[in-house]
């Protein structure tokens, strides 16, 4: 699985950071930052949920 995030869409809900801190972080302005773009499989479900829970759909998951 690969994951990417569009920080131009981000509205700083913080939810992805709380849900999967190993993958999502924030810059100084709170905008989403990916710290692991190829996360381990055991995080897959949490990452999918983070993507689905993002209020602006800023997170994209590639199931490959």
């Amino acid at each position: 699985m690969r994951v990417s995030a569009d920080n131009t869409k981000c509205v700083v809900s913080d939810m992805c950071v709380y849900r999967v801190p190993a993958v999502f972080d924030q810059d100084e302005d709170g905008l989403v930052k990916i710290i692991d773009a190829n996360p381990p499989g055991e995080l897959a479900e949490d990452i999918r949920r983070a993507a689905k829970g993002c209020p602006v759909g800023a997170i994209t998951v590639y199931e490959d």
Binding site: V11, V12, S13, D29, G30, L31, R49, K52, P55, V56
Partner: protein, 398 residues
Amino acid sequence: MTATTPVDYPFPWTEPIAIPPTWETLRERAIQPISLPSGDPALLVTRYKDVKALYSDHRLSRNTGRYPTSRISPNNAIFDDPEVDSDPPRYLAERSLVTRAFTARRIEGLRPFVKAVAEELMAAMESGPQPVDLMEGFAFPLPIRVICKLLGVPAEDQAKFRAMVDGFLSVTKLPVEEVNRCRVGLWAYLGDLVESKRVAPTDDLTSELVKISDADPDKLSDHQMVHWLQSLLIAGYVTTATQIGCSMAYLLHHREVADEIQADFTLVPGAVEELLRYQIMGASLGSTRYCLEDIELSDGSIVPKGSTVLLAVEANLDAEQFECPMKMDIKRNPNYHLSFGSGIHYCAGAPLARMELQVATEGLLRRFPKLELAVPGADLMREQGSFLGGFAEIPVRW
């Protein structure tokens, strides 16, 4: 009730501390015509899928003060300010100046302070006679202390600004003269705050915004700054206080849910989300939008151009999205409720509110293991005629 007969909105609370069963049939039609407290018409979009999509649809404008939008209140424009642009791109540029204060790091940095304030308030509750009104003893002062710290507002001014905020949020509660006195007073109060930070900046969001505005007034004018401060101050405590009250009223009225949390406090964050989903605080008045073009919903029905639209928080009870939606399930996960909205107007203070709700719920249920309502749940009085619902008073003992 036919599709063309408007029903009064907000819906009446017919149950003590529970969602009225009639809300279950609300989604039989995708659009429910409603009559606002002003008597003006609007359309309530009812289904989760549509509500979620429309929150991100730019054909719905948040600039309700710039279009012939139906009025919520007969005598109060509430948040409508034609001078402020609440649509993108302007809105997003301003919003990002504010949301910097709500990153996960900053919120976690504030958590110990919130816990300390909660402990202080609970100690004060313990030192006096019972019952105690949970709203005045805890639910209001906690978020007030927090938002005052964040904005650099002296907490001792709260008597002053609370009365004005109460008037600002009046839908039908107060006469127009009183509403206007409060609106003018609150604006002047926040204008003075800005001036005081300009002269003597401190370590708070207001001072940061003043610095930004002084460096580049095109980025943020004084008017826009005061508008943001007004929204932050009001949203910063009234909503949180009301939700603390609603959550605790629910938990104490349905004591088995509180028991479950007390047996395992790791359930608190999930419980907070579920209590947000199972929304007994208010209504969707904050989601009012003006429709700029015809919009087709998922079932083919049309929201016509020129209509005033409300996106139903009641979509949190949509069985298409939530299994057994009328059931309180504090272990529900995931829980993509819409109580903070969605899209670009997603509640800017949501991370702070979540943290405060977690601290409040856990704090109260830990410190007072036998906390209970001091009156029957059915006797709790609801706030009347205001932008937000919730309970006016919640007497508790332990």
